[in-house]
Structures are given as C-alpha cells and as structure tokens.
Amino acid sequence: MTNPVLKLDAITKQFGSGHTAVTALTDANFEVNAGEFVAIIGPSGSGKSTFLTIAAGLQTPTSGQVYLNGQPLTHQSERQRLAYRFNDVGFILQASNLIPFLTVREQFKLVDKLAKRPFQKEKTEKLLAELALSDVQNAYPNQLSGGERQRVAIARALYNDPSVILADEPTASLDTPRSIDVVKRLADEAHHHNKAIVMVTHDQRLISHCDVVYRIEDGHLARTETTKA
C-alpha cells in the first residue's frame, strides 16, 4: 500500500460558536493517492468548499489533521503554507484563476519569475500543446473561450509539478461537451502523469470519469463505490 498524497484525518470544521455555530464538516476522513482522480459530490451548502480550503491550508480545521505526503500541515506557519500551495498544490478554481493582464504564455513566465528561475519555455510549450492551446498562447484571458480558459487553468495548475491538484467546480461555467472534455483531460493527467486530483462538483454526469467518488451531505463525507466499470 502506497502512502496517500493527501490525507484528511478526522477533520471537523465549525464556524462561529455556541448558539449560532455551524458545523460545515463533521469528522471527515479522506485520502487520495498518486494517479487517482477523486470526485467529491454534494449539494449546495454541504461543505465542499470548506473541505477544499482546509485541504489547501487556507483554513485551519477545528479538529483533525491534514497530511501532505505524510507531513502534517495544520501546524505549519503561514509562510510554509504559502510555499506548500505554490509548490505542491495546483488549483483549478470555479471562476477563472488567470491573471487578466498577462497573456497565456506570461501566466507561466510569472510562475518562473516568482520561483526565481529562468522561463521554462519548452515546458510551457509542451504543456500548452498537450492541452491544445498552442494557438492562443499570446492571447489575454478575456480573448479566450470559457473552455480554453479552464484548459489554461489546468496547464497553470500543472506547471509546478504539484503532487496534488484541487479543482473547485472546474466545469461550472462550461456546457456539457466542454465539461466532459475538461474532466477527461484531468483524468488523463491523473492516469498518465501520476497526479493526485481532487475535483469538487455537483454535476453527476462527470463522475463516470473518476476513479473514486466521495459524497458529502450536511458536512458528512462518505466514500461510495466507484461507478466505473
């Protein structure tokens, strides 16, 4: 048995206290391995975003522990968590997470500037080619279609070779064919590049491409049998 890349151990998250307290997550256990594409599906308000923010180290859980590659995350400093998100996690957010005043190519250049290394031109071009984005590399985000933007976001998420990718409703703004395309590409990344991918969604149609499905309802997270044949 390999170690899980990301593991949430008995996570509870409570907002507020006393009378008005809301428990967004109750004793959630979760793990994802390299090469695995996991979906978390649940209705609105069930705690999906809360789960992602805790996995990303953006919020601290009320109790429980998050492990990345076996290392506990919860008690790290703000700066260590920033570095964790920069280096080890790729994000694909619901709305576009691209920088509006940078061209597609410059989005990647920025990452290299921040990491204080020379621009990885070949890597960028290879990544863009894989995601069928070569023709738009000098376009600004507002000149791209919704599908192209999400594919750039995927490429951006992959750029630092993160061990885990967290996707928050990556298909929310897309029509069905484009959604299927994006999800297929994510599955492809997991299976061929050995990434651990966690996708939060409320779209049932997408889960057929995932290896493992968790359902979340009212803060209770439960692993279900895979729907895949």
Partner: protein
Amino acid sequence: MYLGLKEMWHEKLRYGLLSGVLLLIALVVFMLSGLANGLSVGNRQAVDQWRAKTVYLNKNANQSLAASQLKISDQTTVSGTHAPLANLSGTLRTTTNKLKTSASAFGTSRDSFIMPKVIKGHRINGKDQLLISAGLLDKGYHLGQKVRIGTTTHSVKIVGTYQTSTYSIAPTVYTDTSTLNRLKGSPITSGKDQPINAIVAKNSQFKSSDHDNLERLSITTFVSSLPGYSAEQLTLNTMIYFLFVMALAVIGIFMFVLTLQKSALFGVLKVQGIGTRHIIGALLSQSIAMALIGIGLGLAITIGLAQIMPAGLPFVIDWNAFGIYSVALLAAAVIGALLSWRTVANIDPAVAIG
C-alpha cells in the same frame, strides 16, 4: 516587479493618468523650487559674494540694513577683518534719463574685502567712480557712462564691472563710502563721522563689552532678516511641502482603490501561494515606476521651461534642491503604496474558493 510592470503595460491609460498627475505635482514642485531659489539668489547674492561671517548693525535698527545708522568711527569697537558698508536703494539712471533701472548701491572703502573684483575696466581709484554688476551691461549700461542714483543731480562715472550680483532683487553697484554719501546727499561726506549703515566682517568680535549702539549678527541671521526674504522662502517652501502631502495622498488613494478593485484577483493569487509580500512588491514597483516617470518628465519640462522663461522671472535651478525633492516625491510614492499593506494582508484567500 514582473507582475506590477506587466499590469501597467496592459493598463496604460489608467497608470498613464496617474503618472500624469504625479508629473504635474513634480513640475509645480520644481518650478516653485526654482522660484524660491531664484528669489533667494536675487535677495542675497551680493551678501554671499562678500564671504563675510558677521554683520554689525545699529541695535535699534531691528536688524534692517536700511534702517541702521552707524559712523565710520564705530569700526574701532570691533576686531578682525572688517569693512564699512553704506547702502542706497534707488533708480540707476543715465544723466540723459535714457536708461532707468532699480539698483542697490553699496559704498565701502576702496580696498575693503567686500569691494568686488573688477573683471573689466579698473578699480575705483578716484572720486565719483562706480563699479556695476555685469548684469547691468545687458541693460545697456557701459564703461565710461555717467549715471545718477536716486533723486540726486550728482553724477558718477562707470569705470568697471564685476561678476553679476544682486541684492533685494536688484542689481548692485559699488563705489567708495564718500561717493555714496555724496549720492545720498549726506551732510558729512568725509572723515570718521561719515554715516554708514553697517560693518561687514569676517571672524570678528566686539573688542569690549562697551559697544553702546551696535548689534552683532551672524551672516545667516542677517540674510534671513533681509526685507521679505524669510516670508518668501517660507511661503514657497510650505507650498512645496504641501505638494509632497498631495503626492502621498494621490498615490495612496489610487493604490488603495485599485487594491479594493483587485481584491478578488489578489485572493486567487494568495490561493496559488503568491503571498502579500509579492503583491505589495507589485504595487510598489508600480508606484515607483509612476513616480520615476512623473519626476523624470517633470525635470525635463522644468529644464525646458527654464530656457524659454522671460528674463525678469527670478528662476534659478538648484540641483541640490531638485535632487532632494525628487527623492522626497519618490518616498511619497513608496509610502503611498505601502498604505495598502494592511488591506492586501487582510484579503482572505478562502473567499476565492466558494
């Protein structure tokens, strides 16, 4: 830096406009500085050229040269190198009244250390001779000309010129004490009872505590009590200081509003591990770039305007002051950007996931 400058490039109009505002502020700062310096030079150039350390005036004169009345003999009460100084402000005019110019006339002993060095013509070696500032040559005055000063009918002859010199915003002329007293129409024009206005000295002290009617002023005090001098400088400098506050406010507000506008984007950046320090770095590089553009163009335009300014405008570039004011404007830009620090730090990345 990359982030900040790329954004500026993409949003040229927005950042161009603020650079324009900073340019205007810098331009006004430099113009005021040039005027303040021009007025300062116009008032004190002659005093600076004396290279004196001390001035003795009548202690009832309220530190005013024109109001001070001393006698040649008062010089015996002070030590060190010193020179008598008689002063007359009036209209310099040719005997035909063809040329008329305000001038500050000084009378001192012919060989005193404040008598300017002649660059054309000869030193004063006889009665009723006058040296004029080189600046007066441009106005049509020349060697050998007979001129009068003030309302007198007594005329003197221009025998030499020296480097340009002004006092009380008027070009200076020098003569000997007796001649000046004749121009003034003083009853006594020779001997130790001749009236003078001041004693100008290098390192000098009173010889004894008994110096009845004299007051000793440092040259700095003397300059700051020149008529209007302190008020002018204070007014112009206060305007300059206000402009720094304005620059700070303009940049601070602009960067703050932009930060609020971009808080969603900054949240996303933070999710991706690009923290407050990088974001503030981007804001800083933008405000510094805008300040540099504004200051650079402001300097260039000021220098350009200085070339085509009417000669009557007392405008003199002081590179030291320009350097200090440039740095101060830059500092205002840096502080202005840093004012958004808390706002950036408080952006919660968790809101980008929802």
